[in-house]
Subunit: 309 residues, 4 copies
Amino acid sequence: MIADLARCVAEAYEVALPHRGKGKVADYIPALATVDPNRFGFALALPDGTVHTAGDVDIPFSIQSVSKVFTLALALRRLGSSLWTSVGREPSGSAFNSIVQLESENGIPRNPLINAGAIATTDRLIDGRGDEATVAEILDFLRARAGDDSIAIDAEVAASESETGARNRSLGYFMKGFGNLHHPVEEALGVYFRQCAIAMSCRQLARAGLFLAMEGRDPITGEQLIKPHRARRINAIMMLCGHYDNSGEFAFRVGLPGKSGVGGGILCIAPGQGSIAVWSPGLTEAGTSLVGAVALEHFAYAAGWSVFD
Amino acid sequence: MIADLARCVAEAYEVALPHRGKGKVADYIPALATVDPNRFGFALALPDGTVHTAGDVDIPFSIQSVSKVFTLALALRRLGSSLWTSVGREPSGSAFNSIVQLESENGIPRNPLINAGAIATTDRLIDGRGDEATVAEILDFLRARAGDDSIAIDAEVAASESETGARNRSLGYFMKGFGNLHHPVEEALGVYFRQCAIAMSCRQLARAGLFLAMEGRDPITGEQLIKPHRARRINAIMMLCGHYDNSGEFAFRVGLPGKSGVGGGILCIAPGQGSIAVWSPGLTEAGTSLVGAVALEHFAYAAGWSVFD
Amino acid sequence: MIADLARCVAEAYEVALPHRGKGKVADYIPALATVDPNRFGFALALPDGTVHTAGDVDIPFSIQSVSKVFTLALALRRLGSSLWTSVGREPSGSAFNSIVQLESENGIPRNPLINAGAIATTDRLIDGRGDEATVAEILDFLRARAGDDSIAIDAEVAASESETGARNRSLGYFMKGFGNLHHPVEEALGVYFRQCAIAMSCRQLARAGLFLAMEGRDPITGEQLIKPHRARRINAIMMLCGHYDNSGEFAFRVGLPGKSGVGGGILCIAPGQGSIAVWSPGLTEAGTSLVGAVALEHFAYAAGWSVFD
Amino acid sequence: MIADLARCVAEAYEVALPHRGKGKVADYIPALATVDPNRFGFALALPDGTVHTAGDVDIPFSIQSVSKVFTLALALRRLGSSLWTSVGREPSGSAFNSIVQLESENGIPRNPLINAGAIATTDRLIDGRGDEATVAEILDFLRARAGDDSIAIDAEVAASESETGARNRSLGYFMKGFGNLHHPVEEALGVYFRQCAIAMSCRQLARAGLFLAMEGRDPITGEQLIKPHRARRINAIMMLCGHYDNSGEFAFRVGLPGKSGVGGGILCIAPGQGSIAVWSPGLTEAGTSLVGAVALEHFAYAAGWSVFD
């Protein structure tokens, strides 16, 4: 079976390779625009510690919105169900940065994977500790998961995110106006912009997501990081909301919970099986890595891992 | 394993039984309002023909919106991908009968499981044949799946649906105004109201859904009813959109593709495993059977079938 | 002063004449599409019975939405303030046929001059009498105002309106679903489509609007048709809502309460002074007669009648 | 006639007096909440310099949103028609602080009298000069109009506005995200919060609005402050948009262009006749001075100034 999965990874990589360079690299900040569009990595982490890889799996990239999954896990661990007073758990049916729903629903974002919801989640994660301590917790968590203390924030990306972050500030102040942020907007955004600017490789990211595939337990360190039903909750949210208004298409094509980022990374969880990270910068119109989605679709099919078949 | 599943069914029934009578029976038409709120049935159909049951599994009830799953399957079989010119495949983030999204998206409903999308799907299924032939196809399909020619439309319910169907007519005419219905509105609605008024028992419904668990193949008759990837598509849509703006909660709690109806029925598909139908008339605020959801949650947990663990 | 107004009419006609043929003739029904785009008439009716005219003032045209003003007057006369339980009195900020606002405001349209509001108004005007009696009242009222019993409904236009009326049916059924129509949708629409298909000349229309300029009293017949404050109400609604989402521009340019129709007619009320009807079929993007608006703007300026100067 | 107007003012004051204390004083900032709810002033300024008064006409109050009219005039004077690239001129159909319309219309607010539109207008008025120079221009303009150099900003109110200004910050950053603010958000808001905190008396405010009644010319100083058609534009916008989603009711009741503020002030323009300022802190649900609106309604009726009769 291990041999088979290695072959599935290799095949998925080969199938997707001809699509490299297609799609549009995110260019709203300079640091993302200059990434080589031909980069492509695929890493599958298994609970026994095996990692099957293909391509550029050791080059760090900006994880961007993939970070929302980890801050959600940390916020649930810290706050438990009380998190759900600040953010919902349903698909929004809207774009990643829409504000319309917030107005009719009293400043409570629909789910933690749209921007407003991620900002609200990060705000709760701060929990009075200040931004530095919160950023440190996020970084420490990812370093511990990936077993690599070199994981860091790309300061240039973080600064650019903040400079161009007018829409996210608007979301933040809108929620603040409804009393749905517990800390100053700039404090919550300060953490949010930095979490988005964390740079990780496919190998690290796949490894870091493994606890979500294993009912909240890191199979490498043996730690129960979050309760099993919280891992289930996160996976369900990823399946239904992980790709904004393109979540249905991803669910059909790949059939696994996943979260994409505009840096070109996608984290995919196969519950009970393993964790997959792909990276290729060219994006579809929906903001998902074009090559990455092709590779994941083929892999899920080849491995028989789609939950819908 | 078969013995285990029988026990899981029995357990799920027992766990949910104390909740009977809770929730609110749909009362927008008289025929639904008079149903005994203490009815409760649970049926699990397996690919080998086994059906594990508990409670009122042989009493027909109004399947209502559960019918949308079957007309979607029939429309995909008949029209293939061209169906997607009339209806989308993404969560709407709105209530079952919302019209707001239709205005900004040119009369194309978000998915086939909200009312507007189901009407558009049924309209396409007619395909120029007229309403009688279309209703006949739907009934024949369900009778063949359930192996029971007595399955029928409750004429009183169908008449009531039509009489109280102003909102659905509005949705129909709105789409018609955008050129997104191929037949007269009353023709499409005539089929739609009757499909919603089909009466089936839990045993029949569980059996009828089995092909969706088996990649489009009816394991009892051996017929390949729809292509495997179309079954996957339907399951993905059910997971993301099967319970309107409560789909996220159902996905978390049960972890299986499902579709609820205001008659109190829920059809749940466990891909590769089996098909489950529950029925109990009391509804949550979100319009899903309260007792049914409790039973499904327990069953999925006990059987280990949630796709998110 | 009477001589001056005659000159103002002549000047306004001359100024607007070079614009004839510009704009787009409504073509959603054949009967409107075949109208000669070069038609242009301008009629000013004064309280003393004088009518100053220029151009095609005796050719009947389809008054379309201008009819909404008269059914509003009749409904207020018949029902008094109870009309406002069915329809609001504020600008909608939306297009003439938008349904979005209806969903969030329980099926109550914003004002009587958008389609939904006009249908609700007409529905109330029926008041249990049936469609024929209601249509007869509308026609009789217009004939009495214009002093011309030959005013009639264009049957071909009325039939076409009904055939292409899907969007209006959707609005009607939507309100019906909220319980905000007192009669069957088709009965209300039957009257509505016919009132829109009434054909009148500029001379007749200007004369018919005179009571709105004179505090509800027809200065020719001496009849007090509606109470003074109801005429004020109608004028205020025309000023704020008479041109859908282009009302602000018309208020600035012309500075008088007015109502446009897609047949190319505009009725304009100068409170205390007189009533103006213009007609030219070419429409702006906002659905208002292009030549008519130019003429009205010049006339209001020349006569010093803008209420904002 | 002058005597008559004096009597009309006195009558309007008497009629409204029994309503003092009704309504709800704005309490979102402490400085507003402590105002005596029984204050009530009425001032009518005429072009010849006469001012008819009744009640508390020399006590300064926070003009709040009434300031939007003056910054609109100044922005039009400075920028001319290019202002309309940043803000529209149509009713919004929404609440004063709604953000929904901004999302679908690319960050361009509907009109300069809703909060977003006023912020955009103030941003344009800055025109690269910095906040201090802009605030100085606004203050100088009002002092010159009122002939009183003591008019000042209430620093406590301005500070409170800024502290509680999350929703306005959200609107500002939202527009910034669409590129529809020319200066930093905090710079535009810094001016906006201070203009709202200007304190003026009824006498001063009535006097300051006189140029809008006189085609842009201050009849006391003889200066042509803005072009005549710009005064007409401002009056039209006030009539259609001056009271948010309650503008239709005000237009019907008073029949004059007006602008209300949550401090309880209302400025009303009678084109060609005069300018009226009323003040009483108790607000209707729509945020308009309850006593002020009653007084204006009676005055407009008694003076025969409603433009709709």
